[in-house]
């Protein structure tokens, strides 16, 4: 059985696209001694610049299919196209230098520095030293790590989340049009995972690669994917659609089961923090005169003030009562300050609040500057409204 799944009506992308389309025609993988193929004649089209999430039960063949895209697993049959180019017969090593590959925990080489790890593929492509060095710093910047601090460190000197960021930077090093990600955020704690997801969304918005992302976490698929492919055994494509459509109309009972009973709450994963009415807080720069800030907050009827550093990034969130006990606004950074990005989901925001035992989160936008605050009541209101919608 083979049916081509195409999407003629592409969502209007006004963002940059540096990726290329991927087309699979009857891609099959048969292992000797197994009666059923692991991947059975899959036809799939992935539009340039889209993030497509592969989800499905373990053993359904989604990882096998991903690894056939860069031929870590050689297909037994079928054709793979990047753009209009048939790459099925191309030299795998050459092909892989054009496809970024990110695995769990980054897969960094422990005996090489962060910089060396990132510079590997450009080195293989014979870039000159200066260009590689510039590219390393540019990429570390892109993934939010200070090049001066991290360039010459070894992977073991980094936290799990930082290693994963370097893993993404390494995959992007030679500016490949396609990025394959194999459960990359599976091994980090939920808070770090959420930050990494936000980061990936931001990077993707900037770069517009074609990303194929395997995950077993449906929430992650809904959050990150432009489209989701739900697979059954043999990598049978059960449904290939936008997250909204899959949640609203699961194609089969199988998908409905997979999406799970919490589908109503999963709508929380569809709503971005930036799409809700954010509250604009009273902000104060560290070192400002406390009395003036207190007057300003009282005038605005606010109980809390967001304190920012020199670049407008939030550092703490004290109450007005706390501020009255000081003469100038303290510059101490609150390590437990709950922060989410504009592209985070309401689900993330709620997680972050619960983790910090706070009733709200500070929302940051471009360059991590304060964009507003979101309080738990707004999240509750969103839950109420989606529950109402599905009932009505």
């Amino acid at each position: 059985m083979s049916e081509t799944l195409t999407h003629a009506g592409d969502p209007a992308h006004d963002r940059t696209v540096s990726g290329v389309a991927i087309r699979l025609e009857g891609v099959t993988k048969r292992y000797p001694g197994q009666s059923e193929p692991a991947v059975d004649a899959v036809d799939l089209e992935i539009a340039a610049g889209e993030t497509v999430m592969f989800v499905g039960p373990s053993g359904c063949g989604k990882t096998t299919l991903l690894k056939m895209l860069n031929r870590l697993i050689e297909p037994s049959g079928g054709k793979i196209f990047l753009g209009d180019e048939d790459v099925t017969g191309q030299d795998p090593d050459q092909l892989r230098r054009r496809i970024g590959y990110v695995i769990q925990a980054g897969g960094l080489f422990p005996h090489m520095t962060v910089g060396t790890n990132i510079g590997l593929v450009p080195g293989m492509l014979k870039w000159d030293r200066k260009r590689i060095a510039e590219r390393i710093d540019e990429l570390l910047d892109l993934v939010g790590l200070d090049p001066e601090v991290y360039r010459d460190r070894f992977p073991k000197e980094l936290s799990g989340g930082q290693q994963q960021r370097v893993g993404v930077a390494r995959a992007l090093a030679a500016d490949p049009p396609v990025l394959l990600m194999d459960e990359p955020f599976g091994a980090v704690d939920p808070i770090t995972r959420q930050r990494l997801q936000d980061e990936l969304l931001r990077i993707q918005e900037e770069l517009g690669k074609t990303i194929v992302f395997v995950t077993h976490d449906f929430d992650e698929a809904v959050k990150l994917g432009d489209r989701i492919v739900v697979f059954d055994v043999g990598a049978r494509v059960v449904q290939y659609d936008t997250p909204e459509a899959i949640l609203a109309e699961p194609a089969e009972d199988y998908v409905a089961d997979f999406v799970g009973a919490g589908a109503t709450l999963k709508q929380l994963t569809l709503t971005r923090v930036g799409d809700t009415g954010l509250h604009t807080p009273v902000t104060a720069a560290a070192g400002e005169d406390s009395a003036a800030v207190v007057t300003r907050a009282t005038a605005a009827g606010e109980q809390y003030v967001v304190v920012t550093d020199g670049r407008g990034r939030p550092i703490s969130w004290p109450s007005v009562a706390e501020l009255t006990r000081t003469t100038t606004v303290p510059a101490t950074r609150d390590e437990r300050l709950p922060v989410v990005g504009l592209r985070s989901t309401l689900n993330d925001a709620l997680d972050t609040m619960l983790a910090a035992s706070q009733g709200g989160v500070v929302v940051t936008g471009r360059r991590d500057a304060v964009a507003g605050v979101l309080v738990v009541e707004q999240v509750m209101a969103a839950i109420q409204s989606t529950r109402g919608e599905t009932r009505g």
Binding site: D93, F109, F154, D189, T192
Partner: protein, 262 residues
Amino acid sequence: MTAAVDLAVTAPETVEPGGRRDGVAWRGLLVQPALIVVVAVAFVVWRSTATLTDAEARPLGWSALGGSILDHLQLVAVAAVVVLAVGIPLGVLLTRGPFRRASPLVLGVANTGQAAPAIGLFVLLATWLGFGFGSAVVALVLYSVLPVLRNTMVGLQGVDARLVEAGRGMGMSALAVLLRVELPLAVPVVLSGVRTALVLLVGTATLATFIDGGGLGLLITTGINLNLDTLLYSGALLVALLALAVDWVGRVVETLARPKGL
């Protein structure tokens, strides 16, 4: 919906950049040479002051002693070069795709080589290849190749398969992954096998004298045959010192060659 409560996990680990070569390891490396030097000096003092019979004085004369030590080192060095040249490439080969199937067979042979009584190995080879230096080297190689071979294989097998996949996945050839990822990461294990082999070689080379291969074994056998304890003890002591010295050099190389960042 999962509520994450454990914040401690996100706390970044602070490790000093390039943090390795901790003082303790280096201090450990200093005790061994100190001991070797003290014992060696004691031996030299004893040898210069003791009154020896004629039969004792000849093999213990400075030039005869020096010659025996050099012969011994030569045996060890030649055998070690062959062991490295055979053991490491063979170990690499046996962890590569189709050759993996041959590994039980080769390991079996190497195991037999080591399990067989060394003296038997020497005598058997001598009757087959003739007496002398060459046969002694072959016997020594057979006897000590196993640790190098086995540790090369174990070291390579111990490299995280995901790292190999990451390397292939970014477009490194199989050879590039071997040279830039697998071998560097296997270095500590391989070198510890090399050190074991070297120490085995120094000890076993004493048997070379039975097939006319020379070395410090001569002192020991002469000491036993003529019932001259002075010769016996001198030979045994010098072999032990040599083994300890080789072991120490091995440890230093291991410490220096250990890849940074591990």
